[in-house]
């Protein structure tokens, strides 16, 4: 009943950890049951669970109540808390704005479905390259690079985009530089609603979230695997394509989800760097929240966004939980 138990081999495992785990399988059961009453550990988790139940789960119910409720004569939402009284009129009305005859919400949806993958892909390509360089080739300067890469997290996202807004003004430094080197004749109006500006703005804002997980993974790749590839005659490019890249599949997917999910709800990048012509899904929600009588509209849009994101969301949760269980 003891050493026959084979403990799972962990990545880059510690011998001590393996022995520890083997022992705890046999002894942990005994100790935890005997010395800790049944309610002990749940009581640790209870406060946060309660908090989430009241302030996370319940508000979602209110979103349903408002989305399927009505408005009073003055445009204020009247939430309806009994599901059997719910009315789908606003919801179907919103759906029609996407797919019906005068579908004037559809351009925003299409734009979001184009901007987000485009920006995510750019984040991936450049982020991977940078993470690769810092993980494998930066040598002694790795710490410095790491600090510099981390710094955007401590600088407010808003301030970074705001800084760009200053540079992209018609009389800003970017235009001044472009005109000085004669790349363009007259200053370009970057902020008038150009998709390129918004996409690059999104990349600027979210690429740090892609770089760090990729770096974390690439940093921990067993160098033996790569050397093996090289010893067997593969060129650096081949090693990359056939060893590194397949190994990083999980990390790439995780990074894409971390970057793409918040982007779907982004509205402030467009507010600061674009115009109504580059409105995204998040802008639809924001306009609805602020306009009179827009409560049910906002609720319906939020529910639709959740539906849109449910598959990647669940996938991410599933793989995270699997990773947690394996650890």
């Amino acid at each position: 009943m003891r050493s026959e138990v084979t403990a799972p081999v962990s990545e880059g495992g510690d011998e001590r950890a393996t022995r520890k785990r083997a022992r705890s399988v046999t002894e942990g059961a005994r100790t935890s049951r005997a010395l800790y009453p049944r309610w002990y550990w749940p009581s640790f988790a209870a406060p946060a669970t309660l908090w989430l139940a009241v302030l996370f789960v319940l508000p979602f119910f209110v979103v349903f109540a408002v989305a399927f409720g009505t408005t009073d004569l003055f445009g204020n939402p009247l939430p309806v808390y009994q599901p059997w009284y719910w009315s789908a009129s606003t919801f179907t009305g919103t759906l029609q704005r996407f797919f019906g005859a005068n579908a004037f919400y559809r351009p925003a949806l299409v734009r979001t479905l184009v901007f987000v993958p485009a920006a995510s892909l750019l984040c991936l390509v450049f982020g991977y390259a940078i993470a690769y360089y810092v993980a494998r080739h930066s040598g002694r300067r790795k710490g410095l690079f790491l600090v510099l890469l981390i710094s955007p997290f401590w600088i407010s996202y808003l301030m970074r985009v705001y800084a760009w807004q200053g540079l992209l003004q018609p009389d800003g430094l970017i235009n001044k530089a472009l005109v000085a080197v004669h790349l363009v004749g007259t200053p370009i109006n970057w902020l008038e609603g150009k998709p390129l500006t918004v996409i690059l703005g999104l990349v600027y804002g979210y690429i740090p979230y892609m770089i760090l997980p990729l770096f974390g993974f690439l940093d921990r790749i067993d160098p033996n695997l790569l050397e093996a590839g090289r010893d067997l005659g593969a060129s650096p490019i081949k090693t990359f394509l056939r060893v590194t890249l397949p190994l990083s599949r999980q990390a790439i997917l995780a990074g894409m989800v971390i970057v793409a999910l918040p982007m779907f709800g982004d509205y402030y990048t467009n507010d600061l760097l674009g115009s109504t012509r580059t409105a995204m899904f998040g802008n639809l929600i924001d306009t609805a929240v602020e306009s009179p009588g827009g409560g049910p509209q906002a609720g319906s849009l939020v529910l639709m966004l959740m539906v849109l994101l449910i598959v990647p969301l669940l996938y991410y949760l599933h793989s995270t939980r699997k990773a947690q269980e394996m650890a």
Binding site: R38, G75, P107, T276, R277
Partner: protein
């Protein structure tokens, strides 16, 4: 019944009890809410308007259909003492009230140890929404007439005690002594008056060009000025622009075809010139030469000329056009006291303070450029003393009130049409 390690049946374990009580505690708020809202929605919850109120909403105030707003409570007695140590909460547009007046008010009432705090909104819809939801509880609010009926009928405003406002009758235009949207000044006092026209940079667009056009509004649609056009990020004003440009003088029309026509034209405007929807596009950005032409309130272009131009740039560089026959949009802003005001007596004092001719004049000339309808101001004398000659059309004359179109409240069903048109514009379709 949980089973223990030796097979003995145990009473409800504490863990299970905890789990269930957590669930129950979480369910309590929703249960309470359900019980509270147990009746079918629509029968209670939210005041059902009476027939008087329904009539008011269905037939809003118009210049030829004046409205006396109903009273739901009495105004505060004139003998109410001034609240001591209070902070007066003012809820207003941004950049619309000279900050020094706040300090002067605090000094005038320093024996009561009062302070003034300003919260701003960017458009009137946002302001009204936050007031109605209770998100903001101001003592003084600055709506325009299109919102007054709605606010009164929702019982969001309190009637004014005119014994505390002697400056009103003494100083203001006769045309304003009994406005059609609030007969008897029950709830409002006037703040500023303005017209909505077209502001332009005269160093890029010569006067003759605009004046020689048969429909000068069309200059906003001119692709030659792509990227240099600004219009207001304001639901009713922008749609009114679409209506007036197409010759529809009734900017409160309920005809869906007309509203759609206006909306389509605005979408064409955005397509043709990449027009930017802003609030400060004129008084800040046109002064900085970012925009060359735009929809403009008269006060904005005056403020631009007086305060926002960079050093060394002459005010002549700005121009303003308003239909010579006076047939454009005209409006005024008002001051009101919300029903939930915490310091109503102090709020009355503030209103009276702002109605004083010197303070109103200073607010106009030192800060916002918006003309107050004071009898002491002769509009024809404003040029060139205050208003640069190139902006002479920005002065508001009393006769405009007979010829101009007010943006006013509409019935809820028509309001929904305007909302839908606005949503479509904002969605970037």
């Amino acid at each position: 019944m949980a089973m223990g390690p030796h097979g003995r049946a145990r009473p409800l374990s504490r863990r299970a009890f905890l789990r269930r009580s957590v669930g129950a505690a979480a369910a309590l708020p929703s249960a309470a809410a359900i019980l509270a809202a147990c009746t079918k929605p629509g029968t209670t919850g939210g005041t059902k308007p009476s027939s008087v109120e329904e009539d008011l909403l269905a037939h809003p105030a118009r210049p030829d259909h004046p409205v006396t707003l109903p009273l739901y409570q009495d105004p505060i007695p004139a003998s109410t003492p001034i609240e001591e140590g209070a902070t007066l909460q003012v809820y207003n547009w941004a950049d619309y009230l000279w900050p020094r007046l706040f300090r002067e008010f605090e000094d005038a009432f320093s024996q009561y140890n009062v302070k003034v705090n300003l919260t701003t909104f960017n458009d009137i819809d946002e302001g009204v929404a936050k007031l109605a939801s209770g998100q903001v509880t101001p003592d003084v609010f600055f709506p325009d007439p299109s919102q007054i009926t709605k606010l009164v009928v929702s019982k969001l405003l309190q009637p004014l005690q005119h014994d505390l406002l002697p400056n009103l009758a003494a100083n203001y235009w006769p045309e304003f002594q009994n406005p059609f949207y609030d007969q008897g000044w029950r709830y409002t006092v006037p703040y500023t008056i303005y017209t909505t026209g077209i502001a332009y940079r005269r160093d890029h667009i010569p006067d003759e060009k605009i004046q020689s056009m048969s429909n000068p509004y069309e200059i906003l649609w001119d692709p030659e000025y792509k990227g240099r056009v600004t219009v207001y990020d304001d639901r009713r004003e922008l749609l009114a622009l679409g209506l007036i440009k197409n010759g529809i003088a009734d900017v409160n029309t309920g005809d869906p075809d007309q509203i759609n026509l206006a909306k389509d034209d605005i979408l064409k405007l955005i397509d043709a010139t990449n027009a930017q929807l802003t609030i400060n596009g004129v008084y800040v950005k046109m002064a900085e030469d970012v925009f060359w032409v735009g929809q403009s309130w008269s006060g904005d272009v005056v403020a631009a000329a007086l305060y926002y131009l960079p050093k060394g740039v002459s005010p002549d560089v700005l121009g303003y056009w308003y239909p010579p026959d006076g047939g454009g949009v005209i409006g005024n802003d008002t001051m009101v006291i919300p029903a939930s005001a915490k310091s109503p007596r102090l709020a009355h004092e503030f209103l009276n303070f702002m109605l004083d001719k010197t303070n109103a004049w200073n607010n106009f000339t030192n800060w916002n450029g918006y003309q107050p309808p004071l009898t002491s101001i002769d509009p024809t004398s404003l040029v060139p003393k205050v208003v640069p000659p190139s902006l002479s059309e920005a002065v508001v004359l009393p006769k405009y009130f007979d010829t101009g179109s007010f943006i006013l409240g509409v019935s809820p069903s028509i309001d929904a049409l305007y909302n839908q048109a606005w949503d479509e514009i904002k969605a970037g379709a």
